[in-house]
Every structure is written in structure tokens, then in C-alpha cells.
């Protein structure tokens, strides 16, 4: 790999420039993620469905660590707990831990492109799901089996399209008269 590669002036002009996301846009994406999570689907699809809510939270966390924090993650987690009818606080705690890991890693994550971020997001999702399993097992539920971790794999794969999609409306249109 050529590490000495510098951006030429031409490349520099071709770089994408993004607007800052407004709070309204962030709320809208979170609501959409919740709707995606609530879709009524057959059980075998549910096994592979990534958790869209946590992926959206993590995306905004990486992009704007000052706008997205644990309080939002906590509230979203409570909503998931009520909708999923499980222990109140299970998702909330797991989401907070995921956000904490992302806040620590966000400077590092922003150095990578989307493709290389995916495995690291996968690691965060793994820790998050393990937390959820621990809480459920301590709460007296049965261990759901290793297929529970399918969602980790699908989640880290879904990170790529989700982060591309979320950034599309923020992309600035190139102004031909700029220079």
C-alpha cells in the first residue's frame, strides 16, 4: 500500500463536501430506523435483520459526537424495550455501552473509509449483543443460541449502505462557478 500518496490539487477539488446535519434530519432518520425495526416480518427474517436503530445512532455518533450522546441512545433503548416487550433497560444499557465505545473510537473510526469501518462496528455490535444476552440470562431467560449473533454480522454489513444512504442528502452540490 502506498502510504505516501498525496492528494493532488485535482483530487482535492473532487473531494465531497458535506453539510452539517440539522437536528431535524437526525430525528427523522432515528424515527425511520425505529419504523424499520418495527416492521412485522416472519421469524427467520427477523433472525438476520440488523438493528437499524443502533446503526443510525452509531453513525451520528461517529460523525457528530457532540450532537449524539448517551441520553438519546438511552431513550431509544427504552422505546425498543417497550416495543420488544422485554426487561425495561435491557436495550437502553446495551445502546449506552455501544455509544460509549463509539465515542472512544470515533476519532480513529473517522480515519477509515466506510468499508474498513464495518468490522470495527461489528465489534461494537458484538459487545452490545453480549451485554443484552448477559442481562437476559441474569434475568432468568433461556440462552437463545448462537444464531442470535447473526444480527451482528448482518449489522456490520448493513453499516456500509446505511452510512452511504444517511450521508446522501447532506452532500453539497458542486458549484461550477466556485473558482
Amino acid at each position: 500500500m502506498n502510504r505516501d500518496k498525496r492528494l493532488s490539487a485535482d483530487d482535492y477539488l473532487k473531494q465531497d463536501v458535506y453539510d452539517t446535519a440539522s437536528n431535524g434530519y437526525i430525528v427523522l432518520t432515528l424515527a425511520l430506523a425505529l419504523i424499520l425495526n418495527f416492521l412485522p416480518l416472519p421469524n427467520y427474517i427477523l433472525l438476520f435483520r440488523p438493528d437499524f436503530v443502533v446503526l443510525t445512532i452509531l453513525y451520528w455518533c461517529v460523525q457528530y459526537p457532540h450532537k449524539m450522546g448517551m441520553s438519546v441512545a438511552f431513550i431509544m433503548g427504552l422505546m425498543m424495550d417497550v416495543a420488544n416487550v422485554n426487561i425495561l433497560g435491557q436495550h437502553a444499557l446495551a445502546y449506552c455501552i455501544a455509544v460509549y465505545l463509539t465515542l472512544i473510537l470515533c476519532r480513529r473510526l473517522r480515519l477509515f473509509n466506510t468499508w474498513r469501518q464495518a468490522p470495527q462496528i461489528g465489534f461494537i455490535l458484538f459487545v452490545m449483543q453480549t451485554t443484552m444476552i448477559l442481562i437476559a440470562v441474569l434475568g432468568g431467560f433461556r440462552f437463545p443460541g448462537w444464531e442470535y449473533y447473526f444480527a451482528t454480522v448482518s449489522g456490520s454489513l448493513a453499516w456500509i449502505p446505511i452510512s452511504l444512504l444517511l450521508s446522501v442528502p447532506l452532500k453539497q452540490k458542486p458549484d461550477p462557478n466556485a473558482l
Binding site: 419504523i35 425495526n37 416495543a83 433497560g89 460509549y100
Partner: protein
């Protein structure tokens, strides 16, 4: 000495925040598991997310509408078929009426107390499944009828084949059903073949129920149909619950392990029926109420 004001305004660091939120979550988890409190919190959040759940449900709703529209074209054919089925059922019903009359007479002969008619009289509410959770831990579903539609706690939920579960939480416009397969859910049943009474419980696995604490020499065979016994007053008697799949004897155990499969599509159906018993079969004496 005065310290210089910071350049950037920071809140508490991430670790401090994590500790605060972890404590808050642990408090919620323990309270929820041990004391089942925070019912109001659930109610409020449930009402807030209800519109989102409705929107998520919209594609299914549209699909249904489109299918209904297509079905309109073969309505005539279906009508003939249904009429035929109605006639067949009518015959069964007639036979049922004669049997019922005969049964009453026999009961009178035996001097048995006539079963209270009202206890078998039920009112039904048709509901649709709004949401099934992704979580493999929770054997619960959400229905689209709630307090507003006169749904009450403890009502039985069935589909066209048998029992699905029981209503355990109600929100203004939706309600939660604990499925038969939930680990903490039990139904009083009896074996159709020999009227043996027992209680069937969920195991936490999909498609598996268990008859616990029955001795090894009990008269149960694979293939036996288990129906609700009506004891306890929640489920009306005679609704199919499960079919016995296998019976295992382990030499180290005093009881045999009897595994059975639920008959109703516990995780398949969309439309379900909420039953409400108008009157409990057991009348509580006034002394017991105080």
C-alpha cells in the same frame, strides 16, 4: 486563584456519562424484574411509539387491501364454496344441538350439577397482530386493540385452531399477549381421550410445551389431544391447546418429561380472536371477598 474559563464547553466525559446511565439502567432492570414497577413508564412510551408501529404496519395493510381487491374477482366461486361448507357445518351444528340436549338429560339423570350456562358464553373481539418482537427472549406479541376497544387484562387469545395465549398488558390502543410458549405461562388442560387434568407450561422454546410433574405411570400417549379444562375461569373449556409429541422417562427422575406441540399457529397468524368470559365459572362468596 481563578482558573481560566475553558475554551470549549464540555459536558461530563463519556466514562462519567456511561456510569450514570449504567446505574440508571440497572435500577430500571432490577425494579422491572423484581417488583414489576414502572407500569406507567411503559404506558407512556407505548403510547408514544404507537404511531410508528402503525406506520411500520402500513405495508402489510396495503398488501392486504390489494389482495382483497384481487380476491374480489373470484368472489362468486368462493361464495359457492363457502355456502357448501356452511351446509356441512350446519349438519355438525344440528348434531351438536342434539348431543347437547342429550348431554343435559344425562346429566340430570346422573344428578350432576348442570354446568352454569353463562360460563361458556363468551364475547369476542377480532384483533390483528401489530408487532412481533425480534428478540428471541420474549414470547410476546402486540395486538392492535387496547383499552379503548374494551380489551381487559387476563383475556384469552385464540386463533382458528386453538389457544395462542393470554393478554398480560394493555395500552390505550394496543395490548400485549404472552404466548403459550413463554416460560412463565401455564394453561389448565385436560386430555381429551380420558379427561385427565393437568397444567401445561411453556418452555421458552418455539413450538414446545411441557406437562410437568406427572408421574411415570400416567395414562398419556403420543398423539393425545390436550384441550382447555375451563378450570380457573380464564379459558373457556374445550379449546384445543396442544398435541403430545413424546414422553421421556429418565431413571433419575420421579416424573416423566412430556413434550407437546401447540396446535394454534403461535408464531404464524395475523388475525386472532380475544375471548372474554362474561362471568367466571366460580362464584366468589361474599365472605371471601372481604
Amino acid at each position: 486563584m481563578k482558573t481560566a474559563p475553558p475554551f470549549f464547553r464540555h459536558g461530563p466525559g463519556p466514562f462519567a456519562k456511561l456510569i450514570v446511565f449504567t446505574c440508571l439502567s440497572c435500577l430500571l432492570i432490577v425494579e422491572d424484574l423484581r417488583f414489576k414497577r414502572f407500569h406507567e413508564v411503559r404506558q407512556i412510551i407505548g403510547t408514544v411509539i404507537f404511531p410508528l408501529q402503525r406506520i411500520a404496519y402500513a405495508p402489510t395493510f396495503i398488501y392486504d387491501e390489494v389482495r382483497n381487491f384481487i380476491v374480489h374477482f373470484n368472489l362468486l366461486e368462493e361464495n359457492t364454496k363457502l355456502r357448501q361448507q356452511f351446509l356441512e357445518n350446519q349438519e355438525y351444528l344440528l348434531r351438536f344441538h342434539t348431543l347437547e340436549a342429550e348431554n343435559t338429560k344425562l346429566r340430570e339423570l346422573l344428578g350432576a350439577i348442570e354446568r352454569i350456562e353463562k360460563s361458556t358464553e363468551t364475547k369476542t373481539i377480532l384483533a390483528e397482530i401489530l408487532y412481533t418482537p425480534r428478540d428471541p427472549f420474549s414470547h410476546k406479541i402486540t395486538l392492535n386493540k387496547g383499552i379503548y376497544h374494551q380489551v381487559q387484562l387476563g383475556q384469552a387469545v385464540i386463533d382458528d385452531k386453538g389457544v395462542i395465549g393470554q393478554i398480560t398488558r394493555i395500552y390505550p390502543f394496543s395490548s400485549e399477549v404472552t404466548l403459550l410458549t413463554d416460560k412463565n405461562h401455564s394453561v389448565p388442560v385436560q386430555v381429551l381421550r380420558n379427561s385427565l387434568r393437568s397444567v401445561i407450561s411453556g418452555t421458552g422454546k418455539n413450538n414446545e410445551l411441557e406437562l410437568r410433574y406427572l408421574s411415570i405411570n400416567i395414562d398419556i400417549q403420543p398423539g393425545d389431544l390436550l384441550v382447555t379444562s375451563g378450570i380457573g375461569g380464564v379459558y373457556p373449556p374445550g379449546i384445543p391447546v396442544a398435541v403430545v409429541e413424546k414422553i421421556e422417562h429418565s431413571p433419575s427422575d420421579d416424573f416423566s418429561r412430556i413434550v407437546s406441540n401447540p396446535i394454534a399457529g403461535v408464531d404464524r397468524n395475523r388475525q386472532v380472536l380475544i375471548l372474554s368470559m362474561i362471568q367466571s365459572s366460580v362464584e366468589i362468596p361474599p365472605e371471601a371477598k372481604n
